[in-house]
Structures are given as structure tokens and as C-alpha cells.
Symmetry: C2
Subunit: 371 residues, 2 copies
């Protein structure tokens, strides 16, 4: 990755003083991002999956339901209805769009799509407890409102609900989907283990390979699983299922690169997190580890900063150190590279560009999003 590192910024990015709602530059694409088609796909996925999700959550006992409804943004902490911001439904959209791309019916894959979204939210609930993250989707995290125990139990219940949906699904692919989803959960857990374990290590003690493997397990695995489940529900053969998994994994890694960039240089009004929160918490995100491993003076300065807890006024220096060490440029190039790999996998399974269009739009959306 050395070649991507540059101490001199040719076109210095505006970093924290960036104007609101602009976000990072488009990745691996020319011209301005056009999220139009993706926005439609995401909205359709939400409309399809939301009733299934709400039905599943409604089946929970009171004590679990209130935590989950709060977490999904359907209720306030006091149980009164809320407008709701349950996230972008990227994973359910991938399931449904993959099913369609492989010649299946979207409607038959709705339960699988809901199951993937339930697993995603189970991991969010648990990760927030472990990471002591206090904000999610612009609101206090569930554990800060209901306590650690209830957040963990609500997560446990969501994992169970996900498997419940698949166990009840008469579709011939539902067992294979359940097996794949279970494997994915294990991979997500291993990824989260590595993440928490790495947080305890010093800044000089993390390799890029480790952080990439962690990102693949934490983010790539579930996006890959979502695509693979769509393919399974379309009756695709194992080669195409694996190609869709690989597509989703690579797109997921691209997503993670951009997400980490946004976590540092994004607008907090869009991200829903305080500016630089990850840096202040000394998180070893992809651009940070790349910067630490860059062998540049800025990388050494970043390591110095990371060796001690955050002190007032450090944020701007930290942001600049990551940028000057090439962390931002590298992450954006990596995102483009992963997207290229994702498209290769997609082309193998879905050579017809029209059939592949929806998945392509979603993949571009996640690597272009400014929120």
C-alpha cells in the first residue's frame, strides 16, 4: 500500500471544515454520484420488508419488544411512537435485488431479507454494548437507555427471530439460507472479537492485514451473505451463490473504507455521530491503520497521538495526521479497487448488464453515500 501514501496533498481535501452535506469525493467514478436508482431500490426494499420485520418484532414478549422497537426507531424510550429511522435497509435490498438479478422473485425472498436485517440489528445491539458506543442513528444507543443486560437480551432475541423466520419459510432454499446465515453470525462474532481485541493494543501493534480481515468479517460477511441468500432464493447454483457472496463481500469492504472515511471527514449532521468520535476513542479504523503503517512522519505523529487518550484540541491534529500520512487517499483508492473486484464477481454470475443493474446501483450507492 506504500504507493498510495502521500505526504504531500496534491488536492488537499477540506477535512473537518468541509461544507455540510457534501461528504467525501466520489470513489472510483467520474461525474457526480447519482443515487437515484439505489434510493428507489432501498425504498422498495423497506416497503417490502418493513411489515415482515414489524410482525416478527410484534411476536416478542413485552420486555424484549420495547428495547427492539426503540432500537429500530419505531418508539421513543417511553414507548410512545416515533417517526422511525431504522437504517438504510441496504442488506434487505441486497437480498431482494440479488434474487431478482438471478431470475428469482423478489416476493419469495422477503422473509430472508427480514432475517438478514434482524441479524444485522442483533449485532448492532451487541456491538454497541461492547464498544460502549452511545449514539446510533442520531439517538442514544439501546444499552444507554435500557442497560447492558436488556440490550444483550434484545440482541439475542433478534438472532432467534431471524432463525425463526427462516425456519417457518416453506421456500426450498430456506434451510440452506439458515445455515449460511448462522455461519455468517459466527464470522461477525469473530470480527467483533478482533475489533475489541485490537482496541486494547497499542497503535504500533496492528497490521493492515489484521484490520482488513476484521473489516471483511464485520462488514463484508453480512453483505456477502445477503447477496448469497438472494441467489439461493432464486435457485442459483453454488458457483453463482459464491460469486454473489464474493460480490457482496467486496462491496462491503468498499463500503467500510468509505464509512471509515466518513467517520473522520464526514459531516456529523449526516453521520449521526459527533465529529471525529472514532478518532477521539482512538479507534483503529482502516484509514488510521493505513496511516500508522505508512512509515511517514505524519504516521509517526499519529502514533504519538494515539498512544495517549484524547485531549481537548487534539482532534484537528489527529485528523490532519491521518490525512497527511495518506490514510484518506489510500482508503478511497482501496474502496475503488474493492468495487472493481466486486463488479468482476457480479459479471461472472450475472453477465447481462440489465439484470445486474440493481446490484450495481446498490454497490455504487454504498461507496458514494455522503450520509
Amino acid at each position: 500500500m506504500g504507493e498510495f501514501m502521500t505526504e504531500t496533498q496534491q488536492n488537499p481535501s477540506p477535512a473537518v471544515e468541509e461544507p455540510p452535506h457534501q461528504g467525501p469525493a466520489p470513489v472510483g467514478q467520474e461525474g457526480p454520484p447519482d443515487g437515484q436508482e439505489a434510493a428507489v431500490i432501498l425504498e422498495e426494499a423497506r416497503i417490502s420488508v418493513d411489515p415482515e420485520l414489524r410482525r416478527a418484532v410484534a411476536s416478542l414478549p413485552d420486555s424484549m419488544r420495547r428495547v427492539v422497537r426503540y432500537h429500530f426507531g419505531w418508539e421513543h424510550a417511553d414507548g410512545t411512537p416515533a417517526a422511525g429511522n431504522a437504517g438504510k435497509a441496504i442488506r434487505p435490498a441486497l437480498v431482494l435485488t440479488a434474487a431478482e438479478a438471478l431470475g428469482g422473485q423478489r416476493t419469495t425472498a422477503v422473509r430472508a431479507a427480514a432475517a438478514v436485517e434482524l441479524v444485522h440489528n442483533f449485532t448492532l445491539l451487541h456491538d454497541d454494548v461492547m464498544d460502549r458506543d452511545t449514539t446510533r442513528r442520531h439517538r442514544p444507543t439501546a444499552w444507554t437507555v435500557f442497560g447492558d443486560a436488556d440490550a444483550v437480551l434484545a440482541g439475542d432475541s433478534l438472532q432467534a427471530l431471524a432463525h425463526r423466520l427462516l425456519a417457518d419459510d416453506p421456500h426450498p432454499a430456506s434451510s440452506a439460507a439458515a445455515a449460511r446465515l448462522a455461519d455468517c453470525v459466527v464470522e461477525l462474532c469473530a470480527g467483533q472479537h478482533t475489533d475489541t481485541e485490537m482496541e486494547r493494543r497499542g497503535p504500533d501493534d496492528i497490521t493492515l492485514d489484521e484490520v482488513l480481515a476484521m473489516a471483511e468479517a464485520k462488514t463484508g460477511a453480512l453483505l456477502g451473505c445477503a447477496c448469497a441468500l438472494g441467489a439461493l432464493y432464486a435457485g442459483a447454483d453454488i458457483t453463482d451463490v459464491e460469486a454473489l457472496d464474493a460480490f457482496g463481500r467486496e462491496a462491503g469492504l468498499a463500503f467500510q473504507f468509505i464509512d471509515d472515511v466518513i467517520g473522520i471527514w464526514g459531516d456529523p449532521r449526516c453521520t449521526g455521530k459527533p465529529a471525529g468520535a472514532d478518532l477521539m476513542a482512538r479507534k483503529k479504523s482502516l484509514p488510521v491503520v493505513a496511516a500508522l503503517a505508512s512509515g511517514t512522519p505524519a504516521g509517526a505523529e499519529l502514533a504519538e497521538l494515539y498512544r495517549v487518550p484524547y485531549r481537548d484540541g487534539d482532534l484537528e491534529r489527529t485528523v490532519l495526521a491521518v490525512e497527511r500520512a495518506g490514510g484518506r487517499d489510500w482508503a478511497q483508492l482501496q474502496a475503488a479497487d474493492r468495487m472493481a473486484r466486486a463488479l468482476d464477481h457480479l459479471c461472472r454470475a450475472v453477465p447481462d448488464p440489465e439484470a445486474a443493474g440493481g446490484l450495481l446501483s446498490l454497490a455504487e450507492f454504498v461507496t458514494r453515500r455522503s450520509t
Copy 2:
């Protein structure tokens, strides 16, 4: 429950000074307990299920596997092999024995039995974190060795593994079993929620109904589910499946009554827990809540003791207060009553005493055990 409460002990039980290895008096039975047949069934179940469990755990990534192998007693904390004490395999034994009792083949239900055991251990891992319990099966709990995050993640992985086993199982009942097991997980979570939530309340603020409902959810549900899964794997109709579930639930409640009695009056060398640990932690176990609700002077004294944290020397007074308020007698009578109900349910589904013999032995074992 008033009639079971007695301030005067006709046959005062020896409480804490009880001789070792004797345990509480047999419940609802005449003559000494004979765990012979149950011991054979449990050992056979362990032999059948152990390879399946070990294979499933071996499929986990390194980071999860070491926590799980430690938790099961197969490894020491440093990863060296341990003699192993993975618990009594009551739940797998119930699955296999129920399958046989309903005319099915034990061998076909081995994966389901392993799945139930994995779910049981997932909940133990999580409950120990929430309850801050430091000892399990005579060893430090997983979270004390590996930290909260890894214990939670290992539990998450075990739930996933349980569903993985059923998803892979070609038996025609596997989907119905997976749905039932998922529902059971949700019930276990709700039970654990009630448990942790009750611990935060004062001693006067807990009703017997609540603590009974909690015990049914936390203990009865999974024993019921184990029996129901066995029935499903035998191809039983829904009436018999439900009867087996009810049998397991009632036996599970009987078990919990006895377990709580043992938790107070049992020999720590057998229980693996320090004497009176639950009382010192001010846990609202069934005999304690019964004693608190007894309206007796001893119950009032117990409430006084429970209003403040444990102080050195209180233990003997606390034990005696529970006993004098009738908590022990009540719990033992309740255990006998639940056993009678369990047998009613069993007779409905399995009228042939010979076919029902194994389940009967197991139910008697759990309400007689002194360890």
C-alpha cells in the same frame, strides 16, 4: 401457598450443618432416591451428543472456539486440555429419551439434542455476564477469564451453531424444531430479563407469581422445548408434542425448586458454588420469595436482612429465616406438586409405563439430585 408455610419446624432440617453429600430430602417419593437408571441415560446421552457438540465447536474460528472449549470444561484457560465437566447433559438426554418414548429413533435426534445443549450453554455464558456470577461448574466463569465481550460473542456463536445444526439436519422435523427452539430462546431471554430486573427491586416488591413465571421462562421453557423436540423427531402429532413440552416445563419447575433449595442448603462441595452465595448476593430465589411472602415473623426478619447488602455473619441468620418462614418446606412441596403435574402430562402422551420409564427417571433424577 399459605398452607405450606410453617413457623414451627416439625422435623427441623439440618440446614447448613447438613452432612456432606446428603442434600435435601427426596421430594414426592418414598424411599431413598435411586438415580441408577437416570445416570445410565445421562451417560448414554453424553456419549451420543458429545461428538456432535465437539464437531460443532471445532468449526468455530479460533477466537470463539477457545472461549467455548473453556466454558465446556474441555480446556483450561491457557488452551491445554482439561478433564472436562460440561454439565449433566439433562437437556440432550430429554431430547433423546423423549424421541424414544414416542416411538422414534434416538440416533436421528442427536443433532437436535446437541442444538438444545448449545442453546443452554449460550444462555449460561450470557447469564453469567449479566449476573456477574464468577463460578460455574466449579471453575471461574468465562467472562472472568476472557472478558465480557468474548463471553457474549461466544454465546452468540453458540446460538448460531445450534441453528446451524438444525438447518443442516435433513430430518423432516428439523424446521419445526428450529422454529420451536427459536421461540424458546426468546422466552429464555424474557425470563432472564425478569430475573435481572427483579434483582434491582426491594424484597417487598416481588410477588410469588412473578418469580414462578420467571422460573418457568428461565428453566421450564428449555426443558419443555427439549422434550418437545424429541417428540417432533419421533413424528408425534401436535397434541403429544405439546404434552411433552408441558411435561418438561413442569419437571423444569420442579428442578428449579430443588435447585434453589440446594443453592441454600446444599453442600458447596457438590454444588460447585460457595455456601449461601445466592443469599449473600440477595438473590430472589423461589424459597426466598416464598419466605418473604409468608407473612411470618421470620419472613419479616428475612426482608430486613435483604434490605441491606450482605454483612459478615449474616448468612446463618438468613438461612434460618428462610427456613423458619417455611421457604424450604414450601419449595419441596411445590417441587412434588410440579412433578405430579409433569407425570400427568407424560401419561397423556405416553400411557405405556415402560415407554415412559426413561423420561420418568430423568424427571425424578432432577428433583432428587444432591449435586
